[in-house]
């Protein structure tokens, strides 16, 4: 019964839309454009609520929906001051020792890809979360959820990779667990890790520490992991000579912290990409992060693939790149420290922190115009890491 000879008269309303309008019933027409930032900010600062009855892929993308889920469900029930920091690793004091503690899960599909496999991601990803909080990574746990029918040889390869990655990163896997689920109930192999490191440095690294005048740096070309995964899923008929950038960042992070006392924060750019980290800094520190498109390092093939697929490299996951905000006066020293490490080839200063407009990430386009880089909505690249 498609559109026939006369418009059908039956009409219903979209309840969710009517409810949204009712929720903001007091809204009036704005008279000045300046007011729009305030209005959006106020709307966003309302208590996070999950409106959907079920989890969707958006909740796993690392963008807005993920954030809402964390706040509305997890923070709401489990609230405590450490968790609320929402940093990559939790900073804990146990007796006289200061420790960093983190957890991560790996659901990448496919399990094997150019540049590595889920095992590499698992070790490097966890090491990186610890390194980004300024800790020296020490011990990892590894829990496996295996699907009935998964080839043992594949498991052997994955674990061998983990052993090699652990050795490279100077960590030991000290405890683990294995569960098996029936065929069809798990996609081959999922890995969950936890990591512990020791915090030996005095200055805490936090997304809320950025100040106007600070410089923003990235340790190398962005988007390589995400695009590699997309292409090797084989659905797209696209070939490119690309590899995942998965790597342990503990050494390059230490080199940066040794050379530069004024590091405010570091994050490794995983799901949601560089854009997500910059938004977190802008909001947590209530500053404006202004980046220069021409300064952002991107491999031309990553650019080409992103143009073909209609996605923005700023939102594409990396697995071996860090984003850091440092005291503006020490920008050159920071760049030198990053570039001096093999994993920092292609490091660049990509922008500055300003005071206004707060909470926003601005991009100066290579064309010379300006735009905002907002939080990711939706999920352009599912099951990336």
């Amino acid at each position: 019964m498609s559109q026939g000879t006369a418009p059908p008269s039956e009409q219903t309303k979209a309840n969710w839309a009517e409810e949204a309008v009712a929720e903001h019933a007091g809204a009036v027409q704005l008279t000045r454009e300046e007011q729009v930032l305030e209005r959006i900010d106020r709307a966003r600062r309302r208590k996070a609520r999950i409106k959907e009855p079920r989890i969707t892929m958006s909740h796993g993308a690392g963008g807005k929906a993920s954030r809402t889920l964390t706040e509305a469900i997890f923070l709401d029930a489990l609230s405590n001051t450490v968790l609320e920091e929402l940093e990559d690793a939790a900073s804990l004091t146990v007796g006289t020792a200061k420790l960093a503690f983190t957890t991560d899960s790996f659901v990448v599909s496919p399990l094997f890809f150019p540049g590595g496999n889920i095992g590499d991601l698992a070790v490097n990803g966890t090491v990186n979360d610890l390194a980004m909080s300024g800790a020296r990574p020490l011990y990892l746990s590894a829990g496996f959820i295996l699907e009935e029918g998964f080839p043992v040889d594949d498991l052997r390869t994955i674990v061998a990779s983990m052993a090699a990655a652990a050795e490279r990163a100077g960590v030991t896997v000290v405890t683990g667990d294995t569960k098996v689920v029936q065929r069809g109930k798990g996609d081959g192999c999922y890995i969950n890790t936890a990591g512990v490191g020791v915090l030996e440095r005095a200055v805490p690294l936090r997304a809320a520490s950025a100040k106007p005048g600070d410089a923003v740096l990235v340790s190398g070309p962005i988007g390589e992991h995400g695009v590699t995964i997309m292409l090797c899923r084989g659905e797209l008929d696209i070939e490119a000579d690309l590899e995942s950038d998965t790597a342990p960042l503990h050494e390059i992070a230490a080199a940066l912290l040794d050379a530069v006392p004024g590091v405010r924060m570091m994050r490794d750019a995983t799901r949601g990409g560089v854009a997500t980290i910059l938004n977190e800094v802008a909001v947590a520190s209530q500053v404006s992060v202004v980046i220069d498109e021409a300064a952002i390092p991107v491999n031309p093939m990553v650019n080409g693939a992103c143009e073909l697929l209609g996605i923005d490299p700023l939102y594409v996951a990396c697995e071996g790149r860090l984003v850091t905000v440092v005291d503006g006066d020490q920008a050159e020293a920071a760049l030198a420290a990053l570039a001096g490490h093999p994993l920092g080839a292609g490091a660049a200063i990509i922008g500055r922190v300003k005071d206004d407009p707060p909470g926003l990430v601005l991009l100066k386009t290579s064309f010379g115009g300006t735009r905002i880089v907002d939080l990711l909505v939706g999920d352009p690249l599912p099951r990336i890491c």
């Binding site: 696209i238 070939e239 031309p300 093939m301 143009e307 073909l308 209609g310």
Partner: protein, 90 residues
């Protein structure tokens, strides 16, 4: 959605003459060239790609003309600026 990207044809597939391999910045993809069957397409030609299909052959002469126009405007502007900085009406 209007997403169209220029790519260079590197190979017309012999077993499937309605397909060609294109290169976009080092990324290679097979696309359908059926909509351009009235054109003569060879390796080295550039086409506009949209959702897996070549929509149009890029006319290099027109592209050159467009760029020359832009250069011209740029030139005129630069000359004007130079003239402005040299002139002195005081």
């Amino acid at each position: 959605m209007c997403l169209g990207i220029p790519g260079e044809i590197i190979e017309i597939l012999t077993d499937r003459p309605d397909l060609a391999k294109v290169d976009v910045c080092g990324v290679k993809r097979a696309i359908n060239i059926g909509l351009l069957e009235d054109e003569e397409l060879n390796a080295g030609d550039w086409v506009l790609i949209h959702v897996g299909f070549a929509m149009s052959k890029i006319d290099e002469r027109e592209a050159k003309a467009a760029l020359e126009f832009l250069e011209g405007i740029g030139q005129a502007y630069a000359e004007e600026l130079a003239a402005l900085s040299e002139s002195n009406i005081t």
